[in-house]
């Protein structure tokens, strides 16, 4: 946040306010050898000189509470100001509801600031009231659907107060708006994991939902990753679900060469090898072929990686053949 104090004509310095004349300001003591010095505005220095003064004597007063607002406005990242403000709110028995409004307005100005979200969380804990949190974070996510702070606060409130009821609708809307919103896919997993659960039926439903989204945008890492996540809850593994297999093969047959599709088939091959259940479709040879196609044509930026995987499959094949030969001998 920029320090816009100089353009504020109506501003009266604390040092010029009669009601503060009993306080001796405490200037910052940066020692005899200051470095990385910030050339603060006169307003910033004045406010913080008085902030240090009241903090040092631990003044508990309405005027100190008001001063912290000015200090926050000049630097919302100052965690000591917020901590002192919380101590004041408690000591003064202040109205915490209006504090919720206040911090909401600061969050709207600084939605990516750690301290403001922490302040919000402490207030919600004190009040044991989470009724405004979904709306607050929903608004922040409307502005920036990938705001990590907002997601973190939302997940915390949902888990602490059990607010899962309508979350899947919220997630659906976000994914409809932007199918590549990875945060929304992560939230979908969060709701499944904590609320709806991974029953066989739900696993199947999530697979169908995800495959639809993949057919819509094939080269979308978020959806492919989610599909893998769902299949962690299918005890048959990555390659045990007929709907998934047929969808992947259909995509491949229709010339889809998304690296995520190809990587997925490679992993099915890998699983089959590790389980000793290879067949003509899912085997080391196919994995090697796919790795080579990725390395030379479809995902050249990662050619070294796909070559590395290819080498691993060649080794696995060598061992497989070796042990098979041993059985025959």
């Amino acid at each position: 946040m920029s320090d816009s104090g100089d353009s504020d004509i109506a501003w009266t310095f604390y040092k010029d306010r009669p009601e503060w004349s009993d306080i001796t300001p405490v200037p910052e003591d940066d020692g005899p050898t200051p470095v990385v010095v910030i050339a603060h505005s006169e307003k910033f220095e004045d406010v913080y000189n008085y902030f240090r003064a009241v903090l040092q004597k631990n003044e508990i007063s309405e005027r100190a509470l008001h001063l912290t607002k000015d200090a926050v406005e000049l630097n919302p990242a100052n965690y000591t100001v917020w901590q002192y403000r919380r101590d004041l709110l408690k000591e003064l028995g202040a109205d915490l509801r209006s504090e919720l409004d206040y911090v909401e307005s600061v969050i709207k100005q600084s939605p990516k600031n750690y301290q403001v979200w922490h302040h919000r969380r402490v207030l919600v804990e004190w009040l044991q009231d989470s009724s405004l949190e979904l709306e607050l974070t929903g608004d922040a996510l409307l502005q920036d659907p990938k705001n990590y702070h907002a997601w973190q606060h939302r997940q915390w409130a949902m888990k602490t107060f059990g607010l899962f009821e309508n979350e899947m609708d919220f997630v659906d809307n976000l994914i409809t708006d932007d199918v590549r919103n990875n945060s929304a896919w992560n939230q979908r997993y969060f709701v499944m994991n904590n609320h709806l659960g991974w029953s066989d039926l739900n696993v199947q439903k999530e697979i169908c939902y995800t495959l639809e989204k993949i057919k819509f945008v094939k080269n979308n890492e978020s959806a492919w990753n989610y599909l893998r996540g769902v299949l962690l809850h299918d005890k048959r593994g990555l390659g045990g679900n007929a709907v998934v297999l047929s969808c992947c093969e259909e995509l491949y047959k229709n010339r889809c060469r998304s690296p995520y599709l190809m990587g997925f088939i490679i992993d099915i091959c890998d699983e089959a090898i590790k389980k000793g259940e290879t067949n003509s479709i899912y085997c080391a040879d196919r994995a090697i072929e796919l790795c080579q196609a990725l390395a030379t044509k479809y995902d050249k930026i990662r050619s070294k990686y796909w070559n590395y995987l290819s080498e691993n499959f060649k080794k696995a094949k060598y061992i497989e053949n070796g042990s098979a030969n041993n059985i025959h001998v």
Partner: protein, 352 residues
Amino acid sequence: MMNNEENKNLAHRQHVKYFMRFLNVLPSSLSSHDTTRVTIAYFSVSGLDVLGSISSVSIEQQSRIIEWLYRLQVHPNKQNGDMSACGFQGSSTVNIEFDSEQNHYRCGHLAMTYTGLCILLALGDDLSRLNRQALIEGVKALQTEEGNFSATLSGCESDMRFVYCAACISYILNDWSGFNIKRATEYIIKSISYDYGIAQCPELESHGGTTYCALATLSLTNQLDKLTLDQIEGLKRWLLYRQIDGFQGRPNKPVDTCYSFWVGASLKILDSLHLTNYANNRSYVYETQDCVVGGFSKWPDTCTDPMHTYLGLAGLSLIGENGLLEIVPTLNITKRAHDHLKTLHEKWACES
């Protein structure tokens, strides 16, 4: 503004000047960094170190920086000897004397302690003025039940960033008595997502920066073997998928210069950085270089800042760019500074 033809080489001299400016005076528009000035000093000093230009800082200026830092070290409570607030403050904003009871307002911050120690190492200080035991007690006071760390005693969130800072401090001071490795490792493993990336806390979205914090911590604590083979291979792929030309921090997010370090160093820790495409990475980072006044930005043709400048250089160093010193990926300091640390560790071992 930036001519692509000219912008393929390191504007070494300009970057040195850029960091030297930040070590002196910053404009009032940076007031929101008022409590974290130590981190700006870290980016600048470590940046000069990576550039092989520590000697551009005069001996006098070096000792000024050192004196300034030691004044930010919070010492044990004079009345009762309590060490839980010990560490480094990020500036002298609240560097005032308190009565014993309000002492919690004057407390160290893990990110400031970590970056403060890195500066001292880069400047070749012998760390003799540290109260090592007090710093370790300060770390200990901040580990939560969950296994992660808060940044400070004075009302602060806890997450993966501060697990990493606590691990670096413990490593540098060669004392793990304030860091419960088992609990931190459990926290890290719980924060691995379904896509194998690692998040700020359990169940949040995987993120390049927090994945770095987690992997560097596992490496510093010798716990990488607690990851399964599936987790390691999954992490490698998740990290490698972050490369577009430069690197992004999360799937489907824009590329940003700083992830050439966060993701690059994570891969280096997993011995897999060589699987990335160096040329594309390098050319993206150079697109964000301001070769006129120095500095790097997150995106081409946007404002430079010390963090992206340092991390851009550190990212280039990882892929062996000419004219840059080698970086130790876990601690994010130069090998030169790390070698100095090793001599201090040997000295401490003889003394004890």
